[in-house]
């Protein structure tokens, strides 16, 4: 090492010493973070090459067996399809309904505050509570859905919603949309209120009607919000768990087993910690790819 290099290093050490309180400030966060995130990530990766039932101390090395199992696992494939179904239905629906409500609430009507609160209430309801209530609403014998659908003759036989293999997932989606509309509404409302009026004026002068103003002024200005809601929505609904746990337990016939529910079962029902870690890593990778793709969209929207 040259004398200069050593001098530079001494300089760094000196700065580090002078700024030692900075490290002190970071320490608590950094320690917790190193243990519960960084170490945890590495340990989970280590577990993907092991077989382990948590009870015994041995964790035999199994090479890529967990990965091979995963690729051939029909149920896991099913859970990916279910998760994609859930995400593909609930995220756009929640956003479209939220946008619609926000657009209407952005009109000079009376009681806007009250209406906004009412639409937002489902969002502040704990998920567990929402799931319990909706489970009852879907009840085949006494549920309100069947009552009103029968009364209005939309159906002739009571439906069993959560036990019907074709209806269970739509039912869960509907409940999740109910709970998420408030959030997208508030995000859209905030964005709507920050669109400068001049833009609308200019559009009017150019002879744009209401529809044209919506298409060419409002919607483009809302694009960052839309992308934000999409990113958050997809990340959130890829991790859907609570509703599934309470409303369907993954049934009927695995039709509502989502990825996280499947991981949960692998780990804490069948105690296959190595395999569950492998599945969790697969979920992580998918989210990374999605987020990276969306951030690229995001950046393009910023330009």
């Amino acid at each position: 090492m040259t004398g200069r290099g050593r001098g530079a290093r001494r300089g760094v050490l000196k700065t580090m010493w002078r700024e030692r309180s900075a490290y002190g400030f970071l320490a608590p966060g950094l320690i917790l973070f190193s243990v519960f995130t960084v170490f945890a990530l590495l340990f989970a990766f280590y577990l993907t090459f092991r077989e382990w039932n948590i009870l015994e101390p041995e964790k035999p090395f199994v090479g890529l067996q967990n990965y091979r199992d995963m690729v051939g696992d029909e149920d896991f494939r099913r859970s990916i399809i279910n998760t994609a179904y859930f995400t593909g239905a609930s995220v756009p629906l929640g956003m479209v309904v939220g946008l619609g409500v926000a657009l209407l609430l952005n009109q000079p009507i009376r009681g806007r505050g009250l209406l906004r609160t009412l639409y937002f209430l489902p969002n502040v309801t704990p998920f567990v509570v929402a799931a319990i209530v909706w489970k009852w609403l879907y009840n085949g014998d006494f549920g309100l859905f069947n009552y009103y659908l029968l009364k209005t003759h939309l159906i002739t036989e009571p439906l069993v919603w959560l036990s019907d293999k074709n209806l269970a997932m739509p039912a869960v989606v509907l409940m999740s949309v109910w709970s998420s509309v408030g959030f997208s509404m508030v995000v859209y409302l905030a964005a709507l209120q920050s669109i400068p009026n001049d833009l609308y004026e200019a559009a009017r002068i150019d002879g744009a009607g209401a529809w044209a103003r919506l298409r060419h002024v409002t919607l483009p200005m809302l694009r960052p919000s839309t992308l934000f809601l999409m990113v958050m929505g997809i990340i959130g609904s890829f991790q859907v768990f609570t509703q599934i746990y309470i409303m369907t337990s993954g049934g009927p016939l695995n039709r509502t087993t989502t990825m996280v529910y499947y991981i949960y079962e692998a780990a804490f029902k069948f105690y296959e910690m190595g395999y569950a870690s492998t599945l969790a890593y697969a979920l992580f990778l998918m989210l990374l790819v999605f987020t990276a793709l969306q951030l690229r969209l995001y950046r393009r929207a910023d330009m």
Binding site: P28, F36, L115, T125, L287
Partner: protein, 320 residues
């Protein structure tokens, strides 16, 4: 995430401009708005209304057909029964009962929020306002892990907590007992710091002019005092917003308590509702009463802090 955070201006929400054109057209348009919004709002609130109504009904009345929106025979049985869980003659005899779950939830969510506010803002301040070797690398690592879904770290964290030495009957090597599992420590510690929270606060603090801090330093304030007396007071809105979100999130978190907690004395409110009542098939009126009680703090908090809530969403999200 390219969240651009402006200092939230203290403006009242802009009142939208009325549509132009002939009066009848304006009226027709507003009429249409009400026609969509009001029934929609009723549908959105209906599940709540029914929840509240059912919580005041007798166990048998909940099953009545047609359903009763207004209890014909209102009663507090559901609430009494719910808070009586664990009393003599109950299947859960010996456990301390439902009120304990709510205290647990309040304690856990309160601790998580307090710790996060302190640790997050301390780290955010350091990242935003201090220059020291390694800052960028450490910050990048924090940022990178914002994407890590909690499910990946679930299993390792379970194991880490299980093997904390000297706790829960563990020896020095962390063997033999259950460590921090089934304890408040296990519920609180992993949530005591958040990369996302640090990121948000850092963005906010970047906007604070350095001159303010330098002035305080010249007056002889130490680094902690600068942070505590100068920076924190300027971060009120950002701290309030993150506090509300952290508390809400911790209050309704389900998966982590489900895995960490095993004895009913450590149940949080959502866990108690889900496990105890659903799995043990206790009657629905108890469940509905418990659900109302679990929702109430969230709704009250929202109504009180509504402005901040909404400000927070647009702050964490984006502008425009």
């Amino acid at each position: 995430m390219t969240a651009v955070i402006d200092r939230p201006a203290a403006t009242a929400p802009a009142v939208p401009t009325p549509p132009r054109g002939p009066v009848w057209r304006r009226r027709l348009w507003l009429g249409f708005c009400y026609l969509v919004l009001v029934p929609g709002a009723i549908l959105f609130v209906a599940p709540f209304a029914w929840l509240i109504s059912a919580s005041f009904q007798h166990a048998g009345d909940i099953f009545s057909w047609p359903p009763q929106w207004i209890p014909s025979n209102p009663t507090l049985d559901g609430y009494k029964g719910f808070f009586g869980i664990g009393q003599a003659g109950d299947i859960a005899q010996g456990s301390e009962g439902a009120w304990r779950w709510f205290l647990n939830s309040a304690f856990v969510a309160g601790s998580v929020t307090t710790l996060q506010l302190f640790f997050n803002s301390l780290a955010a301040y350091t990242f935003a306002k201090r220059r020291f070797p390694g800052r960028n690398i450490i910050f990048m690592v924090f940022l990178a892990t914002m994407m890590v879904p909690p499910q990946v770290t679930l299993i390792p964290n379970y194991l880490v907590l299980k093997h904390v030495p000297f706790f829960g009957g563990n020896d020095v090597m962390g063997q033999g007992g259950h460590g921090f599992l089934d304890s408040y420590w296990g519920l609180i510690l992993p949530g005591a710091v958040s990369a996302f929270g640090i990121f948000l606060l850092r963005q906010y603090m970047l906007a604070i002019p350095d001159e303010l801090l330098d002035a305080a330093r010249i007056d002889g304030a130490g680094e902690f005092k600068v942070f505590w007396k100068v920076v924190l007071p300027l971060c009120g809105p950002a701290l309030a917003a993150t506090a509300i979100f952290t508390f809400t999130y911790a209050w309704e978190d389900f998966l982590w308590p489900l895995i960490v907690v095993s004895s009913s004395d450590h149940y949080t409110a959502p866990l108690g509702l889900a496990l105890f009542v659903v799995k043990n098939r206790t009657s629905w009126n108890l469940l509905m009463a418990g659900s109302v009680v679990a929702t109430l703090p969230m709704v009250v908090m929202f109504l009180i802090f509504q402005r901040r809530f909404i400000q927070g969403i647009s702050m964490t999200g984006l502008k425009g």
